[in-house]
Each structure stands twice: as C-alpha cells, then as structure tokens.
C-alpha cells in the first residue's frame, strides 16, 4: 500500500478519510470523477489547496444527477456558497452522505434540507407543493396538489404548528425503513 499518488498529501487524505465514509481508493476515484467534469479547471495537484469551484451546470450534467428531479436542490444544499457551485470538499461530502454507509440520521437531516426549498428550517406547505411539482409535473390538478399537501401535513405534523420540523421529518423516516436504500446515489 505505497503512497504512489501525488495529488494529495497524506494528511489531506487522512482528513478526507476521517470525515467521509470513503476509503482512500474511493476518494481518489471520486477526485478523478470530479476532475473529468472540467479537466482544464481542476489541477492534478491539490497539495496547496487550490480554490477551485465547479459551476452548477457541470455538476448537474453528471450522469448520476442529470435526470434527478432534485439535482439543483442537492447541489445547493451541499455547496458552500448555496448556489450549487461545488468545491472538491463539497463534492466528496455530497457523495459521502448519499452513499450507502451514511447513517439514517445524517441522511434524514440532508433530505430535510433538500426538501426545504426556502431554507427556513421548516418544510411548509409551499415547500411540499414545490416537491410535489418536481415529482409529478402535469399529472395532478391544482386541487389534488393542495389536498395531497394537506394530507401530508396532517399525517406528519406532530407538534401541530402547520409545518414539518426536522423532528417531525425524522419521526416519519423512522417508520419508513426503505428510506436508507432509496436516498442513495451510486457513483
């Protein structure tokens, strides 16, 4: 297991390994996927921590994300600037949380942030409507959309404030054991 790679220092690789769910080899493979998105922007030498940020359009064109209805929200949630432009750290973080080794609480937290379109730490009715529209564009009528959102809030809102907090969402996730396998992007 020689350190034949020259991209990162070993402290950097250790830090990545400690903070994500990837092994060294997987981190290098993810780095090469990141670099393949824009080889002219991403240097092969990360030892002095260059400030490289790939724009959202490149991230959203990855085959794993390009047809996902939530790709924009995913990129916004995991990016540092909140606009979807991701550094390598953000990229690794995103796929680490979406990998199969991340625990349920962590995934629930980020899923909550993804569905929270207006970033107010609550999933309110308008967030639900936007989620529903992303999932079923033209098949439901206005009335049906409204009824579905009301039904969701009825069922899941435990503290009766008319919107879903993180705890309500986590309570719902606990009763949906499929969530761990569906909230998962393979790369």
């Amino acid at each position: 297991m020689g350190n034949k790679q020259t991209i990162f220092t070993s402290q950097q690789l250790d830090a990545y390994q400690d903070c994500t769910y990837f092994t060294r080899k997987e981190i290098l493979r993810r780095f090469h996927r990141y670099r393949d998105l824009a080889p002219q922007l991403v240097p092969l030498d990360y030892k002095n921590q260059p400030e490289v940020r790939l724009p959202y359009e490149l991230i959203g064109s990855m085959p794993e994300l390009k047809d996902n209805p939530f790709r924009q929200r995913i990129a916004e949630v995991f990016s540092e600037d909140g606009e979807g432009n991701m550094t390598l750290d953000d990229f690794l973080d995103m796929f680490s949380v979406l990998s199969e080794m991340a625990p349920r609480d962590l995934k629930a937290f980020y899923a909550f942030k993804i569905y929270d379109f207006n970033n107010d730490d609550f999933i309110c009715k308008s967030d639900l409507e936007k989620t529903l529209n992303k999932l079923t564009r033209n098949e439901l009528t206005e009335d049906e959309v409204r009824m579905v959102c009301e039904k969701v809030i009825d069922e899941a809102d435990l503290d009766n404030d008319g919107r879903l907090s993180l705890e309500d969402f986590q309570n719902m996730i606990v009763r949906a054991p499929d969530f761990l396998s569906t909230f998962h992007i393979r790369i």
């Binding site: 996902n68 209805p69 999932l135 404030d161």
Partner: protein, 668 residues
C-alpha cells in the same frame, strides 16, 4: 450526541430570537467547545464515526476534526505519540483491507447498473440471488475439500457400469450412478494410508457443520432484517406522507425509468386520495358477507388445487417411477427417459397453479394491494412446500423399503428435479417474458409490457434452494449444479429485464417484503430441509450395498462408534455421554430459554409503553415551544415599540413641570 445533531442552526432559528450577531457567535463558539470536549472523551473508532455523522458542512467538519486532534495531542504525553502513529497506521491498514475486499465482490458494476435502471425493489431480487449463490459456493468448497477429494485420492475406483451417453446429464443415472456425484460413490472405509481419514465422520460432520452454519446465518439475517424493518412499525401508517417524502428512489438514473417512476407516483397519490374519500363509505352487511364468502371460496379452491397436485405427484411417483429401477436395464433409454416424467409434472404444477391462483384472486376484492400480495405469497408458499413435503414423504417412507442404494436414488431424483426446474425457468423466461412482451406490444396492445413479478421470482429461487438443501446429504456435489444454475439465471434475468419487462408498479414497503422473503427462506424452507436430513440421519437405516454408512443401524451410530473408540476419560466422550445424551440437559436448556424469552418479552412491552409516552411528550413539547415562541415574539414586539418612544416619556421619577399652571383646566 443529541446536541451534535442540532448544532449549529446556521443563524436562522437563533436569529429569530432577536439575538445580535455577537451573541450568535458566542453561542456557536460555546457549542463547538462543548462538542470538541465531548468528542475527545470517546474512543478513536467512536470519535471518527461521530465526526462523520455531524450535520455540518465539510469545512467545519475538518475544523472540528483538527481541533479534536490537537486537543488529543496536547493532552497525551510524548510517548503516546507513537501510540497515535500505531493506531493511525492500524486504521489505514483496515481501510486498505476493506478496499481490497471490494475486489472480491462479484457483480458490483452490474448491480449498480440494475439499480440505476430499475430501482431498489428489483435490485433486491438480484441481491437475494447473490446471497443464495454465496451459500452454495461455501457448501461446494467445503464438500469438495473434505469429502470428495479424499474419496477421489484414496479410495478404490468404482468402475462405471455403462459408457457416457448424453441422457445422463438430465437423469443423473447410468454413468453418474457410482461416481462421487451421489451418495453411492462414497464408501466408509477408514482410509488406512496415512493420514488416517475416517470417511464416515467426515461425511457426517461436514454436512452437519454446513447446515448449522447456514442456520445460524439465516437466523442472524432474519432477526436483523426484522429489527430494521418491522420493529418500529407502531401506529397507523397510511402512506401519503411517506410516499411523497421518503419513497422517491434517488438511485435510479435512467431517464425513462425516472419518467416511469414519476407516473407511478402520480397514480399512487391519486389512488390514495380517492381511497381517503372512499373510506367514508362503509360496506353494507350483505356486501361484507358476499366478500367473506368469496374469500372463503378462493381459499378452498387454492387449497384444493394444492392437495390435488400433491396427490397426483404421489400416485405418479409410486406407480411409474419405480419401473425404471426395477428393470435396471441400462440400455433401456425409454425407461430412463420416463424417469423424467415426475420432475416435469412437478415443474408444470409449480408453473401453472400459481397462474391459476392469480386468476382466482381476481374474483376477490382486497382492501389494499399489500394484502393481495401477501395472500398470494402465502398461497404459493403453501403449494410449493406441500409439493416438497409430499416428495420428501415419498422419498423417506416408500423408497427405502423398495430400492437398494436408495440414497443415490433420492440424490438422482433431486438432481433431476433441479435440472428440469432450470429448464422450465429458461422456458419461462422465453415464453413468459419475451413472447409476452412481443404479444403485448405488437398484437394485443392493451396487455402492455409485462411487469417483473418479484414475488414469483423470489419464491422460485427459494424453492430451488430448498431442493438444494434437501439434496446435499444425498448428493454432496449438488451445489455445483445450483451454482451454475444461479449464475446463468442472473445473467438471463438481467438481459430479459432490460429487453422485455418493466419494473413493478406497486413498490411500496419493499423492505418489509424483503424481510418476509428472508423469513420464508428460514422458516419453511431451511427448517424443512433440515428436518428431513435430520430424520434420515437419525432414524432411517442406510442402504447396505453403497455409501459411507453401510452396515450401521442409522448414520448417527457413527458418532456412537467413534466415541466408544475413544478412551473412557477423554473429554469428548465425557461430554457426549453425560451431557448430550442425557435428557436432563435438554430440559434445563429449554427451561432457561423459555424464562429468558419471557423476560425479553416483558422488556419489549415496557419499551413499547415508553415509546408511546415519549411520542406524547414530543407533541406536548411542540405545543410548549409554539407557546413560548409566541410569547417571546410578543415581548420583542413590545420592547421594540417601547424603544421607539421618546426617552422622557418613560422617565418614572416625579418631574416638576414649571408650567403646571397651564395644565389646569381652563374653567377652574
């Protein structure tokens, strides 16, 4: 750890409370220091697990990690620096070992592709297949190493009676009759060339060890799956909320599949909306009686069909099949081919009767589609297990008294069943999926593309695996066939899926159905096979002319002979005589297990009560939080309003107004 999960709120929630930027910074800094000191006190493994699962952006995670490391470094004395190095290199070694093990995992890319195109519920079928393949590979390796190789190397060659003809591959007799493929090819002489190798003990212990390991692995998987997927299922879960927020499959990357899933979701949401409206209409009494009688009729029909197929198989077996073994004319190809009749009939029943069941279930009406799936699974399992049961009964009660070298005969029967089942599976893929797709898209447009029926396919796999487990005692190299079969089926199903089928529409509760399948693999399937093998080993007289247990009363007597050959004071003999053979031991064990079960059951009940109380507490705390936030916001509003007045108006001290005369009313 709770504190970590709400750290930090990134300003918005704290900002709502009206704190200034400085106070927010101070609060965050306090939180971080507490977090770091918490982390420092954990063990290394738990610490990194905790860091990884923090709900903070990546840069903050790195900062926290660096701070924790520096605190750890400063706290420990210098000699512990090399302890840190050692632990770090140990962790690196473990990580590289894990990544090396990933190379051993077969089909990694294929499974990813299947998951990406068809979603997780279809992927679960292929994962189940891979799991069964692992069982069979393990069995193959240990059987080959411990039983077959010594037999081939040391024992005298048993010459074959006839030359090799093509039909052997299907029927397993003739050339294969006395080879190591079946029980009859092994003999029980203790091989006296050095090292001495007791074939009887080896045969017995290898098979026993494999079955015990399988059982342990199945129990472990079942209980883990149950715990993950069922244990927290309290309260009504009607399906609207989770369907919208938790059921979207992020791992699907194929554009057509995503569109398909979107359509499905829309249909399901509409269905659940209309269900909700229909819940109001209660069924009238006569309707309910009609539904119940339809259900009863359907159940009677299904059980009748199952009984009928069992009876047919039994009569066929006792009348026709023995014709070949009695004639024993090796060149009679016709009689040999007629032995294939029974397996073909069994496979036909296994194919046709479930289709009849699905027709029957159309006359019934179910309250929800999940009940329909579960009931069809139960009926199919009853059918398959009763067919296997009647076959086992036939093999264990009828065959030993009528045929010499009956174990080889049973092994050959199982071999034939497996091969014909494989051929029918291939035919099923061709007719059931390919042709049905062609018909559905070209000729009768209304039928549409066939759905990939996960339940039926998994039950077929379970049936095949039960046969393999039954056959292991009678034919130690049977896992070869099963491994080849599973390999080929994997690739064929994948190709057929891509070309012909579409994913199933109702994918709700995939995790629960997975648990049911794993439980089915344990309960009727493995337990049935194990009891059959145990009955054979315990009570049946092995055949006199062939096999490793010739001349004994029952195969279990090997153990008696072996322990009697050991000296009196040997610990194995002592354990065997005084513990394993005494009934008191088993009574005590049963009593202890029952008492422990009772205690654990009471603890579970207590915990359920606790969960209910905690849920109510969450609701109450939500109300408290709303009330307090409201009050706080009112106070803030008042404070802001008061701050906008002139300061003098708030001056509470008595204030002498020199113009007091002007403040008196005019008409005084």
């Amino acid at each position: 750890m709770r504190r970590m999960s709400v750290f930090p709120q990134h300003g918005t929630a704290l900002g709502n409370l009206g704190l200034t930027a400085n106070e927010i910074r101070q609060e965050t800094e306090n939180n971080t220091s507490e977090l770091v000191s918490d982390l420092v006190n954990l063990s290394a493994g738990a610490r990194f697990e905790a860091i990884r699962s923090l709900h903070v952006p990546f840069n903050e995670k790195k900062t926290i990690r660096n701070r924790v490391n520096s605190v750890k470094l400063s706290k420990t004395i210098l000699a512990a620096d090399c302890r840190q190095q050692v632990s770090r290199s140990f962790r690196r070694f473990r990580a590289s070992l894990a990544s090396a093990m990933q190379h051993l995992v077969i089909w990694q890319d294929t499974l990813k592709e299947i998951g990406g195109r068809f979603g997780t519920s279809v992927l679960s079928y292929f994962l189940f297949l891979k799991w069964l393949l692992q069982f069979n590979l393990f069995s193959l390796i240990i059987n080959f190493c411990f039983i077959t190789i010594p037999q081939i190397v040391h024992a005298p060659n048993i010459s074959s009676i006839t030359g090799f003809r093509g039909l052997e591959l299907l029927t397993g007799v003739g050339y294969f009759n006395k080879t190591v493929l079946f029980y009859g090819g092994y003999n029980g002489e203790v091989i006296v060339s050095k090292p001495a190798y007791n074939m009887q003990l080896a045969y017995f212990f290898t098979i026993a060890a494999y079955l015990v390991l399988c059982g342990v692995s199945l129990i472990y998987s079942t209980s883990r799956s149950f715990q993950k997927n069922f244990a927290l299922e309290t309260g009504p879960v009607s399906g609207g909320a989770w369907r919208l927020l938790c059921s979207w499959d992020f791992s699907v990357v194929n554009e057509k599949a995503i569109q398909y899933n979107k359509n499905n979701l829309a249909i399901q949401l509409k269905e659940s909306l209309s269900e909700r409206l229909q819940e109001k209409n209660k069924m009238s009494r006569s309707d309910r009686i009609k539904h119940l009688s339809l259900h009863l009729l359907a159940w009677l029909l299904s059980l009748g069909l199952a009984l009928g197929s069992c009876a047919g198989i039994y009569f066929l077996g006792t009348n026709r099949e023995l014709a070949f073994s009695f004639s024993h004319d090796p060149s009679d190809l016709g009689a040999e081919a007629s032995t294939l009749l029974l397996p073909v009939v069994v496979s036909l029943f296994n194919l046709i009767v479930p289709l009849l069941y699905s027709l029957i279930s159309k006359i019934e009406s179910y309250s929800n589609p999940r009940a329909k799936i579960y009931i069809s699974i139960v009926r199919t399992v009853i059918l398959k297990m009763s067919i296997l049961g009647i076959l086992c009964f036939y093999w264990l009660s009828f065959v030993p008294t009528n045929i010499s070298c009956w174990e080889s005969f049973v092994g050959q029967s199982v071999y034939r069943l497996l091969i014909i089942d494989f051929i029918f599976c291939l035919l099923g893929i061709f007719f059931g999926e390919f042709l049905r797709n062609v018909i559905g898209t070209m000729c009768i447009q209304s039928l549409g593309v066939p759905e990939f029926d996960i339940a039926r396919n998994v039950l077929d796999l379970i049936y095949g695996q039960t046969l393999a487990w039954i056959g292991i005692y009678f034919s130690p190299l049977l896992p070869v066939m099963q491994v080849l079969k599973l390999f080929i089926i994997f690739y064929l199903k994948k190709i057929s899926l891509s070309m012909n089928c579409q994913p199933p529409k109702h994918t709700g509760r995939a995790a629960q159905i997975q648990t049911v399948f794993i439980a089915l693999l344990f309960f009727p399937s493995f337990v049935g096979a194990l009891s059959m093998v145990a009955f054979t080993v315990w009570s049946l007289k092995p055949s006199d002319q062939c096999g490793p247990f010739q001349g004994l009363n029952t195969p279990f007597h090997t153990i008696f002979n072996w322990t009697h050959s050991l000296p009196e004071t040997h610990w194995v003999r002592w354990i065997f005589e005084n513990i394993l053979r005494s009934e008191l031991f088993y009574y005590l064990i049963s009593l202890i297990v029952l008492v422990i079960t009772y205690f654990l059951w009471q603890i579970t009940r207590g915990r359920k009560e606790l969960i209910k109380t905690l849920r109510e507490q969450i609701v109450n705390e939500g109300k408290d939080k709303a009330f307090l936030l409201n009050k706080l916001q009112n106070l803030q509003k008042e404070r802001r309003e008061m701050a906008s007045y002139r300061p003098q108006d708030f001056d509470q001290t008595p204030h002498f107004n020199p113009n007091w005369m002007n403040t008196l009313p005019m008409d005084m």
